[in-house]
């Protein structure tokens, strides 16, 4: 029952991002290395030194002290953004991994508070991010004015500085070619769509991210409410088409799902792209009861993250060439994929 409440047959994750800047420093695109270091120290002190019980769970990483692979692994986990990787000035990230909370320092804005939670849980994600925001705000003056609200490096983020997103798994809509129609339509409602990692990942397991475009002139709650409305409609559509698929082409559908499971459970070598697409099939097969397995044993999103190149290398503890990665990936998937109880 709780699965249905979280809508996690369609919603993989919920993400909140708050963009903030500190009044007394220029924005990161105009900041000296010295100010950047100093600011990073201040934020670290405020968050990690707070007497709040959550403070002790935070870890800080200075991006300059990480290897490229460690950085890419954080990127694959979506704890940092591609933009942070490219930064020349001192920058870093504060993490509370178990809560999916990360605070990027000196990205496009001084502070970007982000929270990712499983399933559809916007209030939970917003509440957490907001708590960190309050923690900082208690001690530090944000760049803020009455007219534009929170001031950001790119004026298109001003106001709430809020980006709320859902990661959606919509294989049926994609298979029926209805996705592009929906995606075009939602643009009118101030909602935007991207691939899983923000970039052209269209074939990556039918996973998309939708977020609000408007940040100014609406309250945080309205922004979230609007996104929820659109998302609920997409969920409904996806479910309808899934039912249709299973009714009209049951054998074809089941055949595809079982084949995908078959490849994942027996392959000796597999690329990330293929694995993502097959995992997407398995996920929908599980949701619709075609595949039966001990579902608690399979966290698809987590597995999708672990099979990305940098995470595989992190697990192996060394660099791997692409052939070695394909082999390791197949092994990892075979290990993690539970046996079918209706095979």
């Amino acid at each position: 029952m709780s699965n249905i409440n979280k809508n996690d047959d369609v919603i993989i994750t919920t993400r909140i991002r708050l963009a903030r800047n500190i009044q007394k420093y220029p924005f990161p695109n105009r900041m000296s290395d010295i100010s950047a270091e100093q600011m990073m120290d201040e934020i670290k002190e405020v968050i990690m030194g707070a007497s709040s019980p959550i403070s002790e769970h935070f870890e800080f990483y200075n991006l300059r002290e990480l290897t490229m692979n460690e950085k890419l692994a954080l990127l694959e986990e979506r704890l940092i953004s591609p933009e942070l990787l490219k930064k020349q000035i001192p920058c870093g990230v504060i993490l509370y991994r178990d809560l999916g909370l990360s605070v990027m320092i000196n990205e496009e804005d001084h502070v970007r508070i982000q929270c990712i939670t499983d399933g559809m849980n916007m209030p939970g994600a917003y509440e957490l991010a907001n708590r960190i925001d309050d923690l900082i705000e208690e001690k530090i003056n944000y760049a803020y004015n009455e007219k534009y609200g929170y001031l950001t490096a790119c004026p298109t983020n001003v106001g709430t500085g809020l980006r709320a997103s859902y990661m959606l798994h919509v294989p049926a809509l994609e298979a029926y070619g209805q996705l592009s129609i929906i995606l075009q339509a939602i643009g009118k409602f101030g909602i935007t769509v991207r691939g899983m990692y923000g970039e052209g990942t269209e074939a990556y397991g039918s996973i998309f991210q939708i977020s609000n475009q408007i940040t100014l002139g609406e309250t945080e709650m309205n922004i979230i409410h609007n996104l929820n409305n659109i998302t609920s409609q997409i969920i409904e559509q996806e479910r309808r088409v899934r039912q249709k698929l299973i009714k009209e082409d049951q054998l074809e559908f089941e055949d595809k799902i079982f084949r995908s499971y078959g490849v994942l459970s027996h392959a000796r070598k597999i690329t990330a792209k293929e694995a993502m697409s097959l995992l997407s099939d398995v996920k929908v097969g599980l949701e619709l009861g075609v595949l039966k397995m001990d579902k608690s044993g399979l966290d698809i999103y987590n597995l999708m993250t672990r099979i990305q190149p940098a995470n595989l290398q992190k697990l192996a503890g060394r660099e791997l060439n692409s052939n070695e990665r394909d082999i390791k990936r197949a092994i990892l998937i075979r290990e993690k994929l539970p046996l079918l109880t209706n095979g």
Partner: protein
């Protein structure tokens, strides 16, 4: 150069992606970039914002504007238009005309109604409350709810006194 995706339109943006651990450069036209979400990687509005800046009426007087510079961060008007980003909080005052024009087009609004920071937020909160009460007062008068109106008027007066 032709777009890598549709192979028809001229490519206008370069996109860097990480595919299986390798960095790959792609060249896309505006349409394909929009369709694949490439132009929207960090901020779907950035390009749009920049193109709107070009349309901004203020820019017709750009000879004068080109000289404008933010004294806090040294951001010039030219740089601002080029990168579509500002350099500091003060830039919002320096380039307010342009920002205001573009934000109205994008968000349909230029007034923040969301969260207010605790620090330094008192005056803003009070102003917002006064505005809210004034709206209510207008409605009360329209609907001839005079008792409510008197009460609202007193509340407004009390708040205005604190300023």
């Amino acid at each position: 150069m032709k777009c890598d995706r549709c192979k028809v339109n001229p490519a206008t943006i370069q996109v860097k992606t990480i595919q299986d651990g390798n960095k790959v450069d792609m060249y896309l036209c505006q349409q394909c970039a929009a369709e694949t979400g490439h132009s929207t990687m960090n901020n779907p509005f950035e390009d749009f914002f920049k193109s709107l800046l070009d349309l901004s009426k203020e820019n017709q007087k750009s000879k004068v504007k080109a000289e404008v510079i933010c004294p806090m961060c040294n951001m010039t008007y030219k740089d601002f238009r080029k990168i579509g980003k500002v350099g500091c909080a003060n830039c919002y005052r320096v380039f307010d005309d342009e920002i205001n024009y573009v934000l109205k087009r994008i968000h349909g609004s230029t007034g923040h109604v969301g969260k207010i920071p605790e620090i330094a937020g008192e005056t803003i909160k009070r102003k917002r409350e006064i505005n809210r009460l004034k709206e209510a007062l207008k409605k009360a008068i329209e609907t001839e709810a005079y008792e409510d109106a008197v009460e609202l008027r007193d509340q407004i007066k009390a708040l205005e006194k604190e300023e």
